[in-house]
């Protein structure tokens, strides 16, 4: 059985970390923080240590992208220097990835507690609240003071995670209090996204999509998730956000089960039509010799297998408490024998060159499957459990630091904000 070629993966990520990303990444210049997060998180998963110089460098780069009014900008292209800095634009995805990267760049208890030092928590949470629309959805950034962008579940997910990472579960009389987003409206919006086949989309009128399903389920998960592993669980009798947010849970489980497909190696190469592949035409043929050797996943019904959907579907199922297992062995073989690239990393399909996105999500899902070469994985935040632990400490540290200064912070914040 093929194994994770750890050495090659390490080489791949070191290349990403140390040298320029190739020119085609220009079209994703606006999400450089995501690339930075995936690269550093892959280091973390593969246990490649960062020197203290590296950690300082990562921290200062991430913090350089912070917007003075809260949130983080997607890349240096979107953040402006000095006097003009408030004219840059922060966005949700960048903010999510910035926080995780800051946690990754801390080593040990003390550094973890200070990982969020410098993050403008109050401003960020108020910015987050402004991003929410009346219908409960979130925009990706503010434009002329209003939330803009789609209403899809990605934004709900990011907002829910950011809220969890920075806000913690505070009661109104706790310090330091920040007005919360409208959780009820948030759940209601997600609830409207389930489609007739049990899947999920931006709106239920659209086609279901495993990526949007992950985001919706993740958003609900973090509304329910206790502040830290040690904090008290909610009353088991109370209705969770997860219960309320998915109208048809059996349908969702069916949809997720349906993402698995028997991948027939060898067919992909000679197939001319990109999308016309891997349809279960011949029912029962799967039990023939070699059947189910490779199990791929797609994102929508009747679509081709793709590395990242192993992650999106299997991770969603894991967040739902893994009511049933996926075929782990077959999926591992698909990833390790079909899309793992000889130079390290994973491609989208068989034979495609590796890219950061698929290489990271490939590692992520192998970690979810419990690969011995990788750290234990937090399926909700898409980083190692170790990093989640640091995030909890970082939040704690930030809250402590804010408590004393609160009065002063409020006075100046209030004045300049109005």
């Amino acid at each position: 059985m093929a194994a994770l070629n750890k050495e090659k993966h390490i080489k791949y990520w070191q290349r990403c970390y140390n040298t320029y990303l190739p020119t085609p990444y220009t079209s994703s210049d606006s999400t450089r923080l995501m690339w930075a997060c995936f690269i550093t998180s892959a280091y973390d998963l593969l246990s490649i240590p960062f020197s203290s110089t590296d950690r300082t460098k990562i921290r200062s780069w991430v913090l350089s992208l912070q917007h003075p009014d809260g949130g983080f900008c997607g890349s240096p292209t979107h953040s402006l220097p000095g006097q003009e800095s408030h004219k840059g634009t922060a966005n949700l995805a960048a903010t999510f990835f910035a926080l995780i990267t800051l946690a990754i760049a801390s080593d040990g208890e003390e550094e973890a507690k200070a990982a969020f030092a410098g993050v403008k928590r109050g401003k960020l949470l108020r910015w987050l609240k402004k991003l929410q629309r009346d219908d409960g959805s979130f925009g990706q950034n503010l434009w002329e003071g209003k939330p803009v962008g789609g209403r899809d579940t990605r934004h709900s997910y990011l907002a829910s995670c950011i809220r969890w990472m920075l806000r913690g579960h505070h009661k109104e009389d706790d310090e330091p209090w920040e007005d919360d987003v409208d959780v009820k409206a948030m759940i209601a919006h997600l609830r409207r996204g389930q489609t007739y086949d049990g899947g999920l989309a931006e709106f239920s009128e659209h086609e279901s999509h495993a990526g949007y399903a992950y985001c919706a389920v993740g958003a609900l998960l973090f509304l329910d998730r206790p502040s830290s592993a040690s904090s008290p669980r909610p009353e088991p009798s109370s209705l969770t956000a997860m219960d309320q947010g998915i109208p048809d849970k059996p349908g969702m489980l069916r949809f997720l089960a349906g993402r698995q497909l028997n991948y027939l190696a060898g067919e992909e190469d000679d197939e001319e039509e990109e999308e016309e592949n891997f349809i279960q035409d011949a029912v029962g043929s799967l039990t023939l010799e070699g059947g189910c050797r490779h199990v791929g996943f797609n994102g929508r019904w009747n679509k081709k297998a793709d590395t990242c959907y192993v992650w999106w579907a299997a991770a969603t199922l894991a967040m739902l408490g893994s009511p049933y297992p996926v075929s782990v062995e077959g999926s591992r073989r698909y990833l390790l024998e079909i899309t793992q690239h000889p130079i390290g990393g994973f491609g989208k399909f068989a034979g495609t060159p590796p890219d950061i996105y698929h290489s990271y999500l490939g590692l992520a899902v192998l970690a979810v499957f419990g690969d011995a070469d990788l750290k234990d994985f937090d399926v909700g935040l898409c980083c190692s459990k170790e990093t989640t632990g640091k995030i909890e400490k970082a939040r704690e540290g930030l809250l402590k630091a804010t408590e004393g200064e609160d009065q002063i912070a409020w006075a100046s914040d209030g004045f300049w904000a109005s």
Binding site: Y20, T26, I39, P76, H78, Y196, E207, V283, R300
Partner: protein, 507 residues
């Protein structure tokens, strides 16, 4: 100081260098010149100082002293110094001595200039001279324009064109000589008044991208004009430049929309432009979001003109069809189509027909099936507003339900193992509120001899549905058999799921 002696008049003659070939490179020429101006140096290096004749030694040491003496670094009496110079002139020693290993520097590729062939080096010097000359022209233009502007006028277009040519030529020379990139914006006098805000990134920034040459420049100008909130034609062109290189830039589209509104540009022209961009960037999401913003903005202005609305609906659906021809399952395009149907109230037979045609072309096109479901079950005339797709809707007419059930069944018969049509069938049934058992007869035709020797299954989805039908009927054993056969034989990929269903059955 060499003593005055008779012998000195018989100083060693400077040996003729053995007919050396003429130098080919700058470095070779320097070396030859070095030896020519450093008498006996070469010979001394070849045979060693000790092997020189006494006369040679004397000449050699005289030569060595030229510079120290001329710089007063050797204390000599006036007389002695006069004597020394006399000797030098007598021996015909070159007064100017070249230093060794002169550093010519390197070019932009890191090549040492002394490895240049002489002709190439001459060429390079010529380019430097040309660049200097062009720079004078360029400065003259700036001064002239300043003067004109002070007087409230602009320079004639020809002169601006001439200046563009000057700058283009300078840019070529700068790149060739020094590897410096002058982007197209810096070459355009129309942008002279904008001070770009370049991206100041440390060398060790994360996730650095090898940006194409023009990208960094375009972005630095974009940042500048967005900061000053300039809304102009030239900025519109600038947004296009950036969009071409990075269509996922999340504020350039919003900025572009703002310009379109401020300049009151014809929305239909903008849509026309967008069509071209969309065809070049099939997978981009922002393009379709921008299109939505344009439509939301444009529609109120023509809402009273039914002809104009109809025309818009026609051109939009035509473009969608065209792009779906290229990419039949494009998620963004289908999502936009759903937006459009809602916005323009296209709950029409034509729209239903469009989805149907795509299903006819490819019965497994799940996007087309989803669209059909939307057109039928979100039509406000036949459905309850806000009814979830996973819920029964009593308002849907029976005829519609029957038509949709028949359609799904017809397509299932065509391809029994097609997931999309089975999902559709289930979806319609849920909407209708009818019992799953009503599908028993239809579904059973795809399965025969279950659990027996002669077992034959034409569709695993039929078996899945039968399990639910039997469960609803209260026949747990039969339901279980279906699930067991799915796990064991007909759909083992989902073994875990089928076993979970069996466990659920027992509850």
């Amino acid at each position: 100081m060499a003593p005055k002696s008779k012998a000195s008049s018989k100083a060693a003659p400077i040996p003729e260098s053995k007919a050396e070939p003429p130098p080919e490179t700058v470095g070779e020429r320097s070396t030859q010149r070095f030896y020519k101006t450093n008498t006996l140096q070469k010979r001394c290096e070849e045979v060693g100082l000790a092997a020189l004749t006494p006369a040679e030694k004397k000449t050699y040491s005289h030569a060595q002293l030229i510079i120290p003496v001329s710089q007063d670094r050797v204390p000599l009496s006036i007389k002695a110094e006069r004597e020394y110079w006399k000797q030098v002139s007598k021996e015909n020693l070159p007064i100017r001595r070249l230093r060794r290993n002169y550093d010519w520097g390197q070019d932009r590729q890191g090549r040492q200039l002394d490895t240049y062939k002489l002709a190439d080096f001459g060429e390079r010097s010529l380019k430097q001279a040309r660049l200097a000359a062009l720079d004078i022209l360029h400065r003259r233009f700036l001064a002239k324009r300043d003067k004109a502007r002070k007087e409230g006028s602009e320079l004639p277009a020809e002169e601006v064109e001439e200046e563009k040519k000057t700058r283009a030529a300078m840019a070529v020379l700068r790149k060739e000589l020094y590897g410096k990139i002058t982007g197209p914006l810096a070459q355009d006098p129309a942008w002279d008044d904008v001070v770009p805000i370049p991206q100041a990134e440390p060398e060790d920034a994360l996730a650095r991208i090898a940006y194409p040459d023009d990208y960094a420049e375009a972005v630095s100008y974009l940042r500048a004009v967005m900061a000053t909130e300039e809304l102009s034609e030239r900025c519109l062109r600038l947004t296009q430049l950036v969009i071409n290189m990075n269509p996922a830039h999340y504020t350039v589209w919003l900025y572009r929309f703002k310009i379109v509104k401020a300049l009151e540009l014809p929305i239909l022209d903008e849509i026309e432009w967008l069509n071209r961009v969309a065809l070049q960037n099939l997978k981009n999401y922002q393009i379709w979001h921008h299109r939505q913003l344009l439509l939301d903005y444009y529609l109120p202005s023509i809402s009273s003109d039914t002809v104009a609305v109809k025309k818009l609906a026609k051109s939009e659906t035509e473009f969608i069809s065209r792009i779906l021809e290229e990419d039949t399952k494009n998620y963004h395009v289908w999502s936009y189509r759903q937006y459009l149907v809602g916005k323009l109230e296209l709950w029409t037979p034509a729209e239903l027909g469009a989805a149907q045609n795509m299903i006819e072309d490819d019965v497994r096109n799940n996007s087309a099936w989803s669209h059909r479901f939307f057109v039928v079950f979100s039509n406000p005339k036949e459905t309850t507003p806000g009814s979830l797709p996973t819920a029964t809707d009593p308002k849907v007419p029976v005829a519609t339900i029957d038509r949709e059930l028949a359609y799904a069944k017809e397509k299932i018969a065509l391809a029994p193992q097609n997931q999309s049509s089975w999902n559709y069938l289930r979806g319609v049934l849920v909407k209708s509120g009818r019992d799953f058992a009503t599908l028993a007869e239809f579904t059973e035709q795809f399965v025969s001899g279950l659990g027996e020797e002669s077992e034959d299954v034409k569709s695993s989805h039929a078996l899945d549905l039968l399990a639910e039908i039997y469960k609803a009927k209260g026949d747990k054993e039969k339901a279980k058999l279906c699930l067991e056969r799915l796990a064991a034989k007909w759909d083992p990929v989902r073994e875990g799921y089928w076993k979970y269903q069996i466990a659920e059955l027992e509850k």
